[in-house]
């Protein structure tokens, strides 16, 4: 999520009202953003990803003007025609097919406007623009170049220009290799031709989504602006253009359209969406009539006409009547709803395995064991190698943050040994247990895996023997109502002739044994350990 910082004075100027600390801290978040802090005349908010229109100080102020009641209702944006054309060649289709553009005239680009423009551009790139992949915005000094402009795909080494933040003329390939923003060519990799925007004299304005040319760099002297937005999704491209141009309109800029693919862009007419009063009232329980509804949505910048909600062109999050309903709720104020519990029938009931887990846990506590909780995430070293056990198939992650947590546990005992290892300087005896799920691969399941509930316990002390724990396991089985038998088994995890498989109803349900000193040495545990592990799920029936 994006955190944006605004100069409080600038915000106040754009809102047209003084904003007290209390308003900034407590009232503004009720509009739908999070107050992050305030320092040295700058206030920070976290803007939710569905509202990129709030990323600029102009857009934020526009929303506040409505929400705080300074000026409510739909704001209309008038556009003139610039007469400039942007030609789009089909050579861009494979690499970055979508583009739109606009002209904004008579903008006073003082320091704060420039700063705001850079901020919103950067934040949109990062969030809504998916790191420039879906959307990239270029902003240019229009008077440095001449239309018509052309958007086309070119061989990376065939076109060269001086990019921003550089003095050197480079071709596209070289920019990718040498320029600080060169990393973005990654988005274009695999394509023979890369996109550029050039003017009528073939001078390069932009190499989207990587870098603009130095030629059209903005300065405080810039009066007229040309904006291009390129990307992979035409709808998102138009939306980003709407957000940028309407932001600049807040600064007094005059928006003019550019002819792109035969259409005049941007189209800043409000969108329309039908919202049924019964639907609103059914969801909010406010019993609104149309007038009340119109007033509330006016507080969020929407208009209302002939039973239709008019959606301002910068609101890109409205795709369903539900989205309008949320704005009605926000405008009404979450704090003004009366929380009420309805009469929805239902009986509290639990999952059988959870009940059985609780009952078994009580028995283990009664035997004097301390419950621990270890992680499902683990590694093969622990699960198999330190146990001197043969490696088995495990559920395995592709991209774990750490090799130590690269697979999902299949057994609990190794994880309990890890707990013992970490607690060696604490008092003994240590009797611990865990009831938890392990993961198994299973071709028969939809997810190709299966959770399995298991119980494991260990005792570690200066003196401890097999019978200390086998007696617990056998008593436990009896109390669960199962007849268990113990069959001697051989496993390199346990001392020879000191481990058994636990058999119930002819099925192998677990193991109990005295841990092999080699295993203890692998873990650097210096006291003897006895351990058991049971398949709890199998014992439930």
């Amino acid at each position: 999520m994006a955190v944006v910082g605004f100069d409080v004075e600038e915000l106040e100027e754009l809102v047209g009202e003084e904003l007290s600390k209390d308003v900034l801290e407590n009232k503004v978040p009720m509009m739908g953003c999070e107050f992050e802090g305030m320092e040295k005349g700058e206030v920070e908010y976290e803007v939710f990803p569905d509202r990129p229109d709030l990323l600029s100080v102009e857009g934020f102020a526009r929303a506040l003007r409505c929400f705080l009641g300074v000026e409510q209702g739909l704001q209309e944006y008038k556009t003139g025609e610039s007469g400039i054309e942007l030609k789009v060649e089909d050579t861009v289709d494979p690499v970055r097919p979508c583009i739109s553009a606009a002209v904004v005239r008579n903008v006073e680009l003082d320091g704060s406007v420039l700063r705001s423009l850079m901020q919103v551009q950067e934040k949109i790139h990062k969030t809504f623009g998916r790191k420039r992949k879906k959307i990239a915005i270029g902003i240019h000094d229009l008077d440095k170049v001449e239309g018509p402009f052309t958007y086309k795909g070119v061989e990376p080494d065939s076109v060269e220009f001086v990019p921003l933040q550089s003095e050197e003329t480079m071709n596209l390939k070289e920019i990718g290799e040498k320029h600080p923003k060169g990393k973005y060519v990654e988005i274009l990799q695999g394509n023979e031709k890369w996109p550029v925007i050039v003017d009528r004299n073939d001078r390069v304005l932009s190499f989207p989504p990587v870098i603009n040319g130095q030629l059209t760099e903005l300065s405080e002297e810039t009066e007229n602006i040309f904006i291009d937005v390129t990307g992979t999704d035409q709808k998102a491209v138009e939306e980003a253009l709407n957000i940028i141009t309407t932001s600049l309109a807040e600064r007094g800029g005059a928006i003019e359209t550019v002819t792109v693919n035969g259409k005049e862009r941007p189209d800043l007419d409000p969108g329309e969406i039908s919202v049924d009063m019964d639907y609103v009232n059914g969801l909010l329980g406010l019993g609104l009539n149309e007038d009340g509804f119109e007033e509330l949505i006016g507080g969020m910048g929407f208009g209302y006409s002939d039973g239709k909600v008019l959606v301002p062109p910068y609101r890109v999050d409205v795709m369903h009547p539900m989205d309008v309903v949320e704005d009605v709720a926000i405008s009404h104020g979450y704090e003004n709803f009366k929380p009420e519990i309805p009469d929805v029938p239902g009986t509290g009931s639990s999952q059988g395995i959870e009940d059985f887990t609780e009952k078994t846990k009580e028995l283990m506590l009664g035997f004097g064991f301390q419950e621990v909780k270890t992680t499902v995430l683990t590694n093969k070293e622990r699960q198999f190698r330190r146990m001197e056990a043969e490696e088995e198939e495990v559920v395995k992650m592709k991209n774990s943050f750490s090799e130590d947590y690269g697979v999902c546990r299949r057994y609990l005992i190794p994880e309990l040994l890890e707990v013992l290892r970490q607690n060696q300087h604490r008092s003994y005896p240590q009797k611990i247990f865990e009831i938890g799920d392990v993961l198994l691969l299973d071709e028969g399941e939809e997810t190709k895996t299966r959770n399995k509930r298991k119980l494991s316990g260990v005792i570690c002390d200066d003196e401890v023997n097999y019978a200390d724990l086998a007696s617990v396991v056998s008593s436990l089985l009896e109390l669960i109502g199962k007849e268990g038998s113990f069959e001697k088994c051989s496993s390199s995890s346990y001392l020879k002739n000191r481990s058994s498989e636990v058999i119930v109803d002819k099925e192998r349900v677990g193991v109990v044994g005295e841990v092999h000193p080699q295993v203890l040495e692998n873990w650097r545990i210096e006291k003897p350990v006895v351990a058991f592990e049971l398949d709890l799920e199998g014992l439930m029936n």
Binding site: G282, Y334, V372
Partner: protein, 413 residues
Amino acid sequence: MYRLTEEGKKYLKEGLPEKRLMELLEDKEEMGEVKESIEESSIAINWALKNGWIEIKEGTVHLKESPGELELQKALESVNQGEELEKEVKKELEDRNLIEEVREDVVKQAKEKLKEGSISNLTPELIKTGLWREADFKEYDPTKTGKKRYPGRKHILSYYIQDIRRVFFDMGFEEMKGPYVESSFWNMDALFIPQDHPARDMQDTFYMERPEETELPEKGLVESVKKMHEEGSSRSEGWNYSWKEEMAKRPVLRTHTTAVSARKLAEIDPPAKLFSVDKVFRNETLDYSHLPEFMQVEGIVVSEEVTFQNLLGYLKEFYRKLGFEKIRFRPGYFPYTEMSVEPEVYFEEKDEWLEMGGAGIFRPEVTRPLGIDVPVLAWGLGLERLPMIKEGIDDIRNFYYENNLKMLKEVKI
């Protein structure tokens, strides 16, 4: 050595039955209803007749001769005092099962114990022989309570899990479960999260090497979800992109239990109240407050009738039952809810409002493909946050990763 049996002890206290009968007759000389007058009347009459103290005429008991003080009663007293008895009396008492012999080795042990002088522990032998009467018990300092002891304890999180499950049961919610490894379909697509959404980015989500691919649920459901993403519905614009089945089949460790809710929604008919308290996974480096796996609590209410006010009502009640009296609601954002709420609860101890989970009403684009046409209220929170704040735990790793046994044992209930 002899001691009194249970019956013997009783008669020592209450008097032998025949003694009680004779005491009654002293005053009356004759009696019609002996049975009603004393307990164990038949034993009393039997012995009184045998000793020639009474006679029975026409169902009435008459005094023949007063026995005076009963020797047998005195003998019971003597046994109790540990005195020796005449052989005949001893035999009579034994026959009547009023005294029993104490085994010689028991007597011996008791006597040896006595020889030790001042005694620290009372023994069964001293009690059996009655020789405790002669013992001199060592004095303790009863203000000393001995060394610290720890019972087998539940893990601290188990206490919290138990509390939360109880709250849900109280509110009439049914528990649900689902697998740790999920398809992207259930974890994301079914929640109307578009396939290019940043929430699917590698850094947050554990993707799997094994298994490589999951199956998808039945075709009709998959088609509905696909259509909602690509084209929307009569009321929604949808996301307008080409939805790919391969992406939906990518297995992940579930990042939220909302995946479980989605599965359940596809199964049920409204109305329903459901909850889960279960593990979720995030591919995040672990530090003092972040865990790559943690417990998530989730509740959903599915009903034709429910409103936004009801969502707030459930939240208020839920947190009140967890001990938070003051709650307030802020607008929030989650990709699959509209009306999204961030509840904040007030912590007295800290004099601070703290964000406590998230809530909302599922977007119709989520519920419709799952076959649900009524509002679904939903809320959730990370469980570990509760003990961290309430118990003042500043490093969650102590409890989860290290399992500090000292701390786990000493947790206050």
